[in-house]
Symmetry: D2
Subunit: 362 residues, 4 copies
Amino acid sequence: MAGNTIGQLFTLTTFGESHGPAIGGVIDGCPPGLEISEEEIQVDLDRRKPGQSRHTTQRKEADKIRILSGVFEGKTTGTPIGLVIENSNQRSKDYGDIMELFRPGHADFTYWRKYGIRDYRGGGRASARETAIRVAGGAIAKKLLNHVAGVRIRAALIGMGDVMIDRANWDWEQVEQNPFFTPDAQAVTKMETLLDAIRGAGDSVGATLELVAENVPAGLGEPVFDRLDADLAKTIMSINAVKGVEIGAGMAAGMATGAAFADEMIPGEDAQHPQFLANNAGGILGGISSGQDIVIRFSIKPTSSITIPRRTVDKQGNAREIITKGRHDPCVGIRAVPVAEAMVALTLADHWMRARAQSPVG
Amino acid sequence: MAGNTIGQLFTLTTFGESHGPAIGGVIDGCPPGLEISEEEIQVDLDRRKPGQSRHTTQRKEADKIRILSGVFEGKTTGTPIGLVIENSNQRSKDYGDIMELFRPGHADFTYWRKYGIRDYRGGGRASARETAIRVAGGAIAKKLLNHVAGVRIRAALIGMGDVMIDRANWDWEQVEQNPFFTPDAQAVTKMETLLDAIRGAGDSVGATLELVAENVPAGLGEPVFDRLDADLAKTIMSINAVKGVEIGAGMAAGMATGAAFADEMIPGEDAQHPQFLANNAGGILGGISSGQDIVIRFSIKPTSSITIPRRTVDKQGNAREIITKGRHDPCVGIRAVPVAEAMVALTLADHWMRARAQSPVG
Amino acid sequence: MAGNTIGQLFTLTTFGESHGPAIGGVIDGCPPGLEISEEEIQVDLDRRKPGQSRHTTQRKEADKIRILSGVFEGKTTGTPIGLVIENSNQRSKDYGDIMELFRPGHADFTYWRKYGIRDYRGGGRASARETAIRVAGGAIAKKLLNHVAGVRIRAALIGMGDVMIDRANWDWEQVEQNPFFTPDAQAVTKMETLLDAIRGAGDSVGATLELVAENVPAGLGEPVFDRLDADLAKTIMSINAVKGVEIGAGMAAGMATGAAFADEMIPGEDAQHPQFLANNAGGILGGISSGQDIVIRFSIKPTSSITIPRRTVDKQGNAREIITKGRHDPCVGIRAVPVAEAMVALTLADHWMRARAQSPVG
Amino acid sequence: MAGNTIGQLFTLTTFGESHGPAIGGVIDGCPPGLEISEEEIQVDLDRRKPGQSRHTTQRKEADKIRILSGVFEGKTTGTPIGLVIENSNQRSKDYGDIMELFRPGHADFTYWRKYGIRDYRGGGRASARETAIRVAGGAIAKKLLNHVAGVRIRAALIGMGDVMIDRANWDWEQVEQNPFFTPDAQAVTKMETLLDAIRGAGDSVGATLELVAENVPAGLGEPVFDRLDADLAKTIMSINAVKGVEIGAGMAAGMATGAAFADEMIPGEDAQHPQFLANNAGGILGGISSGQDIVIRFSIKPTSSITIPRRTVDKQGNAREIITKGRHDPCVGIRAVPVAEAMVALTLADHWMRARAQSPVG
């Protein structure tokens, strides 16, 4: 009820604040018999880790994952998988200002109104640091989906501010070869230029991301409320700073006509697998996966941790001005790429298990 | 787990198919002491009801709500509220084609892959008819929110196909005075012209909607997964035909810079209620309501029930052509207005109760 | 959260008060393809129905079940199954006394303290009438369990007040041949004599019941909290008037020694099915079914609706005396037999689906 | 769904195996503002800790609790509370036998049938070691209940094998002054004698426990399925080795008559607090707390880890004989006292929050 668990059958619960002793989580519901290791999980964690290039925050966090339970002799046992990452690099500093002021665009004000109390150090629970455990849990979900159905989930940055990629240049290989996770090699220089300027100005910039999940079996998703697209929208919107989510044609669907929009079908490899002639639906019909690629786009707002002074108030309601110093990401959208993959993997794994439970008995 | 319940503390469970004996639902968790009547619920149901103008389906459905339990002497008792609407107007017809063919863009194919069996009459469970019970349940949620916090939730159609309203003309009074729920009186004629053309061509058209929730108390929403924006994205995406959801600045946030985006604050009526100078956040910061208006935009795809022939396959995988006859909405987005209000009300009522449970004890 | 739903994957939600328009419920999560009909459900409802002999309440309730959804052409479709029973026999009477007084041993006082408001007519939501929908839902669960695993669930009355059966006379055939659902034909006359005396004195009497579930597959139950025995204890204790629950040896286990208690094993039909030499465990080890018969015993307290005057207070806290008139069961334990079968079926069906979701992937 | 979480609003999720790196858990939903410290939690952990006398297992476990999150400057923040206890004393030994054989009365066989794989070292997930985290979480629940309502929860051992206490000697002070948590000082010597004999014989013995919760506010519990007694029965039965649970009069209720059983009421301190003349109900009416003491009795079976040889089978289905060596509790019921207090505290805290969410709005 307090919102720190996602999923119903394959669940991840996370805990931990940015500057507490550790962050951690529990994967519950993973079936027994899946091979998994700390090393595999670490791969995704390292993709999310800050300080990988000059374009992300220069904080150094080891982000070393430790599996505390649920894996025996290299395989899941069906019992809960405890995960912990010790917090190692809490720079000692004076939080006096943040204690009393509400950073505009931050969760400071709303946490104060909700809880009356908050761990203000480094953003506390609202810090993006929490997403490290999502990535760890998502790595297990990815492994499961890949093992049972060959599912592949990949995200990419398709826009930084107003620098949008040219889709004609899309190359998945590129994504792991530049600091922006962008699939358009020709956009990299433009993004570097933009980001250097943004960082120089003490400002930040938003981003647009796209995620594609391939080989998702048809039949995942639960009408009427837990539609696959509804749960994917939630899982993506649960990532810090996301403001919009689109499935398939997305917002453009509102401007289309029916004749142009419906994805026609022709005979495919067999009766269960017709060929679709388009994918405006983004792989989901009536809330259930169709077997087509699932396609999601979403926006990440620019972080409000900037050194340009902004007007705000303090706890007593007085007018103040704030400058947010520290080692912040000028474009938080970059590191959202592995986080989005993790969240989609968690949601698909959950729905895969739900479909498994409910398969026909007739 | 099977997805027919929404909410955790204030829940709605729905059941029923388009052409079965009845549709119905259960509201569980509504606190005792709230005045509610069938008449109040009927008001919202009548707004959703088809056949109100030539622009929606000409099916005649009485949509008469019946409260079976949980209300005694005009007030809720805290026990579950059973709701039923008998299905009265199932036109007898030959479903032979739909039994065997998959309508492109419909849930026919995915239900078949998921369940192996389906009630194909009139769309069965995938029919928009199910949303009538959402509207009924939402009316109770609206009443609760209004009673405890003066919350007001209103939606409007801001675009039909490529006919977008002029925001300068926005007038909430207009919304209930035209058949499109649009707030721009000057857009009505253009929409009529468009829709007559679309209907004449046997085609359909998408729509864009916007919803505003006023007076939502600060402090609703549960980090980290059940953020208010995440749950709102899910609740909106759970409505049939929605393909994109935006909170506040939405997809445009990906193109913004931090200095321009963060909503600055200045002193307001008191320390708990500062004044925000903008609302790019759409009333939600860190997943928690800030007290500002909550603003949501979303798209509704054009219905795929059109009389223009489309290519498809049958259950045996053979190539076929399909024309979907019947009394269909040329723009399903119109009737989505009261449905969206209901869904947002259900989600806000749920989070209001969650916040109530967790208020500080210190 | 409001407690009207049981189960996680195979769920029953009930609604309705004794003297409202109808009682009803929703089964959600039943897999598609199961044959089920109103007639089959009615069989169990008729076993629970009052007025079947002079030994139960003489209220006449038709208890006619109606399936509103989720079943198409005789088979479940995987969508929620709506169930309704109209209330037909609400005897018009003056409830003045019950409105103001708290019947000792009844829920009157606690509902008032919890909700501040209650439908006092005929017990309202606390009435045993609500269990009719449990029996209806349980009939579907029984059918599922029988279809997928040949499970058979049978309960019997083994004690009425201090009249206990002789276990040497146990004959399941007898259970459906006497008005007490007792397996000992020789106990019937003693029970009749007791019950006539109790009824004559305006008093009531408690009962002890036993339930056996055969052919339950090994492997059901989720350590550590949702152990099968824990969930069975809950499901049984959720039945009106139950005060004690025992699994296998039950309370006597506290007096046993380890050498005597552990159920030894010898080779059985195959490695997966050893033979157990005793069943002190009642078919459950470590919270997981072993494949042995599941054996549960429980007590039902005597109803407090008696015509012997009792001391009580009214809403203003004044001393009063109360006599509860009406058509009450002198031994409510009798009609608890089909209710217990239903509850155990619901819980086993839920765990069967949970086990299905989590089966090994290795 | 995988059963490692208890509660709906105030939840505890546990993870960890007996011989893994650590055990841990997450408390989610605790309201902000509650003072809590590792030291307070440690007090209850030390009561449960083995090796406190010659009568419990001689394993040495430090059981040192570490709070990883959710507490800031000595108070809860409303965010999840991560808890970890490192496993320090895993004696290196040869588990060859246990790997292949199923100990009668143990979870060995059922885990194998359920998961196909298990961490057999020291009982793995089925080990009573997991209850250390329950005690830690329960300490937080106790603190909350005490803070908001002055609730006091105490359990005691009232029978060891066939040595039952004399209730006339009941003295709560005694409970913390003998190694058995028994309230009857005169029973201590008899219990010592019994236990020395049992241990000498390589056998084990069961126990009977009683728990009393005082000052529980009226109005907790959710009809119809999540009755307070139903959830208490589950929470108690979820403790390793429990085989029977009684509320108030318990199994004896089945033998009573209505006139004797209903707890009469007379005027008390005010209209909301009448005086009850008896407590056969055990403090719960219609599934809702009445304000009387909540009284629960339950049995703990003798552990099956004994050195008397027992017949069993191995994984291949062959007949074998087994002797369970190691440092086992001859009476596991003793250490169940703090565990039961913790479980009841968790369940009452959960229901206190549920009642809070649903309080009347009229």
